[in-house]
Subunit: 414 residues, 2 copies
């Protein structure tokens, strides 16, 4: 299993490979289409059905027991622009090889067909780089986001999700499989496991997160010929907002709150024109909802004072609010027990990042595990996990999935 | 002349008209192509030759004396994104009607053919919104910019000037006319004439200007999963730079220096990725070169301290340095004398904005005049000058051009 997994993992990383060992394969681009064809072909080579649902989620089915519902295992194959090789892809390809090995054992007669069937899933647009919000496909599947609303989302060039998926041939019509549970493995995207020398993390909850959509409106004018006193410069206002978003973390204990502005667009964006409008997105995250809400309140009142002082209009809207979500304790305990049996060290851990498992966990019992990530960096080309850590994670995922397939922690009721 | 001028002026403003009475007709776009066809057709309807040179400058020729060199009169028909109706277009269309009226008087025998011929010019890409630097076509004509280098300039989408001009059919092969002098009329883009109730400004010099090309390099990482202490956020650094550029004006007497950042691009510009790179352009202008140089030095040392503090790399390059240029006193005095004869009030004035006349003035004796501009706003849809002020300017321009055609202030030697 290990060598076949590594071969597939490193092959998939060639699709959209960048000059510095990263991958740039944004949702519903032609490169995403290419990796999806590879994923679907992999299952068809094994005579397995592939489903494509209406938001472009892809499922490869192992149906050992006719009519039985499915445990789902997977993650996402889309990446950030100039992203890494591991974020998402690791969990999908690990799921493929876990499924394949269990299937071979059943075919060889060394394992009985389990109680549930198994579906390996590649969720659409987890990253949200091209099309916001992130965690889109799994959230639609879990009923958290509206399908039509998401299909209408446009990228910065005005192309809709609907059109982009149709263009790469992955705007599906299938229903997804009937799910009773979900398992996902992912790189940590933090340094805790690496620092503590622990094999695996078992995620017990996600951080509370929310975004602020901020529009700063000034007045377009000539940079050379407009007196400083007469200007209403939207970019000066927006720059103040970016710094406020950074500085609000200082109001709380170290690392209790993370905040950022990652997207900012200037109009008209001409070197000799004072900006008319700047649109930016701020991101606030904490283990504590109260801290995020307090930070948000501080930002709203500072932004309001700024608008008044500089004669700007600043519109702020809350969006993409994601409450802190707890994974079921029974699943956390199951994973801890199975990992101990396999001889792996583990610890409980929180996720600051969003994940497909956090959406799925609102629908069916879910288990999420992390493997170590060197320097904790992700969403960049130098994101890195060792083959050894990936192989350990593969064994851990297989053991957990087997328990779930046999009705530990998940039931027919979902 | 007045009614025909107003009809043409208001017609040209329909090409690329915006919802709020502005014009969006950036250089070498299809709308720029459309207004150029209208310009060329206007001269061909009058059996006048039109020349297109290699940087897309367009000349309509009135040749009354075979082999004689030309006085040039004009401005530019390109605009900023969501720009105004007056900036540039006024000067071109005023030039067209001045030429036409002089021609009719010669045809009617009420005026002798002057010593020089007259060419009306629409300079390519004065605005520099799509293709930087600005004042491109007239600077190439005057030998200040290299032709090939300018043809290779690309817009943010990677389209070159060469390709964009070819696409609209205006990548020419003609030599421009042999020039002995240049006259231009333009809106003030400031409030001095309006505030003082003066009919016309005679420009005696341009401000010293320079731009700084600034690249802020951080490290791309996950907004949610990267500890604040581990971040190297290029957008936070760039926001500090924007505010430094604004604040440096406070080091000098009020309005002695104007500064701005009008263009800023974030990479990768995803809501959940800490920015890797931000590219921005700062613009510094003053009547005093020493003030610009002192402000530049302050910015360089503050930027250097910021880079060290935040562990960023910030690359700063000087470009588009335009020294303060004096218009020939003989031309200023000629205009003042002619305006007084016409019964118009005038004052000397400086231009903070760049103009085609500033480039032409390095090559041949040039005269530049301003008409009042309501509220002094420009590069925006609410830019406005009255029909009455435009008509006064038309009469003033005709009177000045006639003197130049008859060898006042300009000579065969240029």
């Amino acid at each position: 299993m290990s060598q076949a997994f590594l071969t597939d993992f490193h092959h998939a990383a060639t699709i959209g490979a960048t000059a510095n060992n990263g991958v740039d394969r944004q949702a519903a681009t032609s490169l995403d289409g290419e990796v999806r064809l590879w994923f679907a072909g992999w299952f068809r080579d094994r005579d397995r059905r592939v489903l494509i649902d209406e938001i472009g989620n892809l499922f490869g089915l192992y149906e050992w027991r006719e009519g039985a519902p499915f445990v789902l295992v997977g993650s996402h194959l889309d990446t950030q622009p100039l992203g890494g090789r591991f974020d998402g892809s690791y969990g999908v390809i690990a799921g493929m090889h876990v499924a394949d090995q269990i299937d071979q054992e059943i075919a060889a007669g060394t394992r009985e067909a389990p109680r549930f069937n198994l579906a390996v899933v590649n969720w659409f647009n987890e990253e949200g780089a091209r099309f916001a919000p992130s965690v889109m496909g799994s959230s639609v599947f879990a009923g958290l986001f509206d399908l039509e609303e998401m299909l209408d989302v446009e990228d910065l060039g005005g192309v809709s999700v609907r059109k982009a998926l149709a263009d790469i041939g992955f705007l599906g019509t299938d229903d997804g499989p009937a799910a009773v549970g979900y398992a996902e493995i992912h790189i940590e995207q933090g340094r805790i496991l690496e620092r503590e020398g622990i094999d695996l993390g078992v995620v017990d909850r996600s951080w509370y997160t929310q975004k602020l959509d901020i529009e700063v409106l000034g007045e377009q004018s000539h940079t050379g010929a407009t007196a400083m006193a007469d200007r209403r410069d939207a970019l000066v206002g927006a720059s103040e907002v970016v710094l406020m978003v950074r500085q609000v973390t200082d109001d709380f204990p170290e690392e209790a709150l993370v905040s950022s502005v990652g997207q900012l667009v200037v109009e008209p964006n001409s070197p000799i024109v004072v900006a008319r409008r700047v649109h930016l997105v701020a991101d606030l995250r904490s283990d504590s909802p109260e801290i995020v809400q307090e930070a948000r309140q501080t930002l709203l009142s500072k932004i309001s004072a700024l608008a008044a002082r500089d004669n700007l209009v600043i519109n702020v809207k809350d969006f993409d609010i994601r409450p802190s979500r707890h994974f079921p304790p029974a699943g956390v305990e199951l994973a801890e027990r199975v990992l101990a049996q396999q001889g792996f060290s583990s610890r409980r851990i929180q996720t600051m990042a969003g994940h497909d498992s956090v959406a799925l966990n609102t629908m069916v019992p879910a288990v999420m595990m992390f493997i170590p990530s060197i320097d904790g960096v992700s969403h960049c080309e130098r994101e890195f996990s060792t083959d050894e850590d990936m192989i350990k994670g593969l064994a851990a995922l297989k053991a957990v999935v087997l328990e779930m397939l046999n009705g530990q922690f998940v039931t027919d009721e979902g």
